[in-house]
């Protein structure tokens, strides 16, 4: 009684409600974005559109979402509409009182960005002294408030060989989930690509070791959101479709309401203020292209293509100009 289905709306929306940030991360994808934000009353109405379309969950991001003065009201409104509400934060502003306020506003899960188990390395990467300590403290405050926590780590040159250390660190912090996000060449990430990105061979080695850790570690959910791991015969348990989930299960909304397939693909396919979400989801030619990728270049004839579908479309677009190109991280 289980079947293939064409979804009529995204399951989840990643919503960058602002672009203001108190950090200066080397890989930031949104620092160069407009600081134009949707007025609060309009944003609340947009959330109603999203809920009405049947979206299950909204994950707030930014920028640093806690710098948005209306975050709690917005979350409370979303939660009241039946949306599951979560957030990604750098943790700097989360003390005990804020953690409780987040819980009361309806946040069920908060991910904290931590890129190294070594505080000096994290602080340097994030551009703010003391940021590691504040992030760790935030994890404690959130857990104490009863909010599920996760650690989000952007894998790049500063941490790709530290998998075991990151796992130990996550366990010490009692995080339920450790998300290894693949480095995207988007925004400042593109400017600093040569300094931060790994070679295809290094990605292969990283994923071999990360998948081994995922298999080995019980009680800690290690999440790998990269479709390219299909090359190693693996699929993340969280991967519910073949290839990338972007445009198939999830959609991104920017601070000004522009909708993009994901946060790392700067192609605007509509605007949540003026457009119908379900219509954009159904009719966008960009999403159609992402859902029906065609093997090109070295993907042609690759035995893993059916599962990998060319890997990450955002990386392909950033480095080749075509969503359909083979993922530049591919080592095959």
């Amino acid at each position: 009684m289980q079947n293939e289905i064409v979804l009529e709306a995204p399951l989840t929306i990643n919503w960058a409600i602002n672009n203001s940030c108190n950090f200066a991360c080397r890989h930031c994808y949104s620092r160069t974005d407009t600081h134009e934000e949707i007025p609060r009353d309009v944003l609340l109405a947009c959330l109603e559109k999203v809920a009405k379309a049947g979206v299950f969950s909204v994950n707030f991001g930014g920028g640093e979402p806690l710098l948005h003065s209306g975050l709690l009201e917005i979350a409370r409104h979303a939660s009241g509409l039946g949306l599951r509400v979560s957030m990604n934060s750098n943790g700097w502003l989360i003390d005990r009182e804020t953690a409780r306020a987040l819980r009361d506003a309806g946040f069920t899960k908060v991910g904290i960005s931590i890129d190294s188990h070594i505080s000096e390395i994290h602080d340097q990467f994030r551009g703010v002294a003391g940021s590691h300590g504040r992030a760790v403290a935030a994890l404690g405050h959130l857990a104490e408030a009863g909010i599920t926590t996760s650690i989000s780590t952007v894998i790049c040159r500063i941490n790709h060989t530290a998998i075991d250390d990151l796992v130990i660190f996550a366990r010490e912090q009692r995080a339920g989930q450790l998300n290894f996000h693949n480095f995207k060449c988007s925004g400042l990430g593109l400017s600093h690509k040569d300094e931060l990105d790994l070679t295809p061979g290094e990605w292969q080695e990283f994923y071999r070791r990360a998948l081994a850790a995922k298999e080995r570690e019980k009680g800690l959910d290690i999440s790998l959101d990269d479709p390219i791991i299909a090359l190693l015969g693996a699929r993340d348990a969280g991967s519910l479709v073949k290839g990338s989930v972007c445009g198939k299960l999830s959609l991104n909304i920017k601070a000004n309401g522009d909708m993009t397939p994901c946060g790392f693909i700067p192609i605007v396919i509509g605007n949540i203020v003026r457009d119908d979400l379900k219509q954009v989801w159904r009719d966008s030619p960009v999403l159609e292209k992402m859902r029906n990728k065609k093997a090109t270049g070295k993907c042609s004839g690759c035995s893993k293509y059916e599962d990998c579908l060319g890997g990450c479309s955002a990386r392909a677009l950033a480095l080749t100009g075509d969503l359909n190109s083979p993922d530049p991280h591919c080592w095959a």
């Binding site: 009684m1 289980q2 079947n3 293939e4 289905i5 064409v6 979804l7 009529e8 399951l11 049947g54 299950f56 969950s57 599951r84 348990a237 969280g238 519910l240 299960l249």
Partner: protein, 104 residues
């Protein structure tokens, strides 16, 4: 008596367009087994259910197995024993995934 309950943490929805297509197909007497009409999501697991699966899922509101079968029987052209077996197998699968619970 054992009752059957949806896990409240499961997020789910029916897909209106797919449901309309299925209802049209049913009116024509066509097969609809392969068409998903609802999507369920929990703990990183997504399920898509066909029309019968969706109807069963919607009835997991504290009813008994007998109650679910009694509700479905008039809607589907099927022997009661066959329906009961199919429903039990489906519920056991949902229970194994944590999407429903049985309670005494």
């Amino acid at each position: 008596m054992q009752t059957i309950h949806r896990n409240p943490n499961v997020m789910w929805r029916e897909e209106a367009d797919a449901l309309a297509r299925v209802q049209e197909a049913l009116d024509r007497g066509d097969e609809v087994e392969e068409t998903g009409t609802s999507v369920l999501f929990s703990g990183g697991v997504m399920l898509s259910l066909n029309f019968l699966g969706t109807e069963i899922w919607k009835l997991c509101d504290g009813r008994t197995m007998d109650g679910i079968v009694a509700e479905l029987l008039p809607q589907f052209d099927v022997e009661e024993a066959v329906l009961r077996e199919d429903v039990q197998a489906f519920l056991d699968e949902l229970a194994a995934k944590g999407f429903i619970t049985y309670a005494e």
